[in-house]
Amino acid sequence: MLELELFLNFGVPLLILLLAYFLGSYIERRHFRKIRERESALHGYPIMTFEDTPDTWRVGSSTLVSGSVVVSLDYFKRVIAGLRASVGGRIKTYEPLLDRARREALLRMAESAKGSGYDAVVNVRLETSRLANSRGNGNGTAGVEMLAFGTALKLDRK
């Protein structure tokens, strides 16, 4: 009975930790690969953070476009981040997560603009917001939302 109790108390969380580590890093690598592919497919598509357009552009129509994504850390990385937060310093496990979420949101915005036939996106803004935990003790699901939005332009061609 002691072995079973030990297994339940320490073995199961350890197993989940390992599973989360392998699955989580696999998912992350795959996501980064996809992001790079999609970014190179959009190479040359003008996305600007400012409003001005070149004088040679004759703007036909415009609309507001957005792209968003909600992501969360895997269990392993949350544990590491928790340990790290207690001593301070750089929390490396969070950096790739936020990076890939932001790039994903930008890609979704750009792909939707391109898909609807728009030629450029100007005045792009990025926003990050944290979703509240569903339970007060911090064990509930928490996520971070990345939002990218901007004004998509259709150019008149002669």
Binding site: L23, T63, V65, S66, S72, E104, R108, V122
Partner: protein
Amino acid sequence: MDLGQPQGISLSNTESIPGKRIVDFYGVVTGNTVRAKHIGRDIMAGLKNVVGGELKGYTELLQDSRTEATERMVAQAKSVGANAVVNVRFATSSISQGAAELFAYGTAVRVE
């Protein structure tokens, strides 16, 4: 996601509608919505939380909410006689555990 076109009004987060001229101002228009998380979605998100990555249920929930907030802003703009809303901004705030307010605001104008 295209937020403007389906609603029959020009939306832009720039200070004017590109290629058009502003002829009249109607002031600030706003739209909001407060949403709580769905229990089914929360359970799925809880499972997804173990391995990390995108929480699709939440992405959709927030997108729907933002669309609704935008629609309310557009309805207000239409009611004052505007045909465009410029300089649109979005904001999110956590009201209580599990509930969030999303709102959109901008300046209602008439463009030609």
